[in-house]
Symmetry: C2
Subunit: 338 residues, 2 copies
């Protein structure tokens, strides 16, 4: 069946297309009699308003945008984003919203995407992820005419935009103190991309905690891939004063670390304790199961979607703590051997 | 800056909004002099056509739709979809396209999404994934007025729609014959969701191959999660005639199987050979690294996007073999012990 247009309704009802538009949009300019006739004809023909037409009249696009400025090769490695997106989508069904997703190589391309989306009115709002120190996106999205946005990240990174965050600093401190209490005195951190704001927050919390405890805390840098996690682990385990415990910035690097330990004959957890971040089903599938800093990423995504709907509805600002990741000790952590 | 509308241009140029619309859309109905004046004013004011306006005039939405009818809890587990989406997106940048993503609970909701997208002209075409036997979506998307679609799956499942496929049957046969050549005579398959067409194709190829070789081939059913993969592995490893080799339908179930084997003291690969599907970075991060059926999922996604653009451009039908997954033996397969 061909799509029913306003012209079809106008012809059938014997009025102008302008009159049909007025009638169907509930605007003044046509008599009640004409409005009733137009609506009856529209229903009879099976007409439906298109999002394009509603968008032109300033109505919602029923679309939320998400730009991921990550290389395709690293996107598929972690389960974080798919779980996060599934969470966002879980809030969409009641509102008939959909997610417009764009994967771009860098921040410049991300800003260009926002510019195009805004000019073409393609989305009602955007979810900004991976905020950085002095992030140019925050400035752009803070302008009075910008797309409504919610920042996924710490309040210190979000400017005046509303943000939903997890208390990563508290989680880092808890994991270091837990390992210290179990007798560990050489605790390493294998962190993610340095330019990301949450990496910096975790780095600082880690440094402060090991310094306050007066212990050694080497830090290794990665790009979240299994390969970079394995490399960092090899460097740590072959160093002169090798750590007895390592905290990783995601799940797949912790998994890779178990492989490197096995390859070197380092026993987990007897010789080496391992803690993963972003607890995932993977962490419970390894042997022994991975101790992890756990938070519900799907529920986090849903929370972000609700705050963005608030923002789209005109609510301003606000900083919302979603959760503090909780340490779930499983089989890869143990007291240090006497 | 407020968005420039056709009304602004009309006011500035001293003509009706209708005349502006005719002039900017290159349609007859205004003099060349008026057209020139309108275009000059539009440029001066910094006007840009909105996708909404272009959509109303039948121009492309520059959007491709993807509906995933999967439970959020299973979506984040596998890396397949994020890699596949990253591949689709890799073809978008040159065309300024974006992906409209919707996660829905079931096929009925997926069909309703297509209906809404079509009625509201929200996408230029859709990528249909996880085709089933007698799939109602194929019939709906085969109607003359349906959204352009490309099926990701076997030709036998795609009706007359264009499809991009991987030769899963050949890959299953190769893995069974490889294990047979290494002396295995009890080879099990741990398969995914029964209702998915590619599961059926793999099941049939597996049954035919083990029958033609005259060996035992138990089949276990899962929902792709690590938990269901672990459960299936426990059933197999505690059965009276336990298999000496198992082929899994994804990577994370194979990983979970390594955990179950360790938990039971079954050595991999000495006592049990394991083959994963959808080779991923995970497969190379385990110890020993997982033998896997390998194909490039990101490149597969890119291929699908190119075929959908062809379809949107009016190319009809066509069945395109993307690749045959290749067996990459690593550390989890070995000859059966004498």
């Amino acid at each position: 069946m061909r799509r029913i247009t306003i012209a079809d309704i106008a012809r059938e009802a014997g009025v102008s297309t302008g009159a049909v538009s007025y009638a169907l949009n509930g605007r003044p300019g046509v008599s009640e009699e004409t409005r009733a006739r137009v609506v009856a004809v529209a229903n009879q023909l099976g007409w439906e308003p298109s999002s394009a037409a509603r968008s032109l009249s300033g109505a919602p696009t029923q679309t939320v945008g998400l730009v991921l400025a990550r290389h395709p090769s690293t996107l598929g490695v972690e389960s974080f984003y798919m779980q996060f997106i599934a969470g966002i989508e879980s809030e969409f069904a009641p509102r008939s919203y959909a997610l417009l997703l764009q994967v771009v190589p860098d921040l410049e391309a991300e800003l260009e995407t926002y510019r195009r989306w805004r000019a073409a009115r393609r989305v009602d709002g955007v979810v900004l992820v991976d905020p950085r120190q002095d992030d140019p996106r925050i400035e752009v999205l803070s302008r009075p005419d910008a797309l409504p946005a919610v920042v996924v990240g710490d309040s210190s990174l979000a400017g005046d935009l509303p943000n939903v965050w997890t208390d990563d600093a508290a989680a880092v401190r808890e994991s270091v103190r837990y390992l210290y209490a179990a007798g560990h005195r050489r605790i390493a951190r294998v962190g993610g991309l340095q330019e990301l704001g949450h990496t910096h927050i975790r780095d600082v919390a880690f440094r402060e905690e090991v310094e306050s405890l007066g212990i050694e805390g080497p830090l290794e840098r990665t790009d979240y891939t299994t390969g970079s996690g394995a490399d960092a682990t090899r460097r740590l385990l072959t160093s002169v004063d090798r750590p007895t415990a390592v905290v990783y910035d995601n799940d797949v690097m912790a998994l890779a670390a178990m492989g490197v330990a096995a390859e070197l004959g380092v026993r987990v957890p007897e010789d080496l304790s391992i803690i993963a971040w972003d607890d995932s089903p993977l962490c419970q599938a390894t042997y022994p199961p991975l101790s992890a800093l756990s938070h519900d990423v799907t529920s986090f995504g849903a929370h972000v979607a609700r705050r963005l709907f608030d923002r789209i509805d005109g609510v301003r600002g606000g900083s919302f703590l979603d959760s503090t990741p909780t340490l779930r000790p499983r089989g890869t952590t143990s007291p240090v051997r006497a």
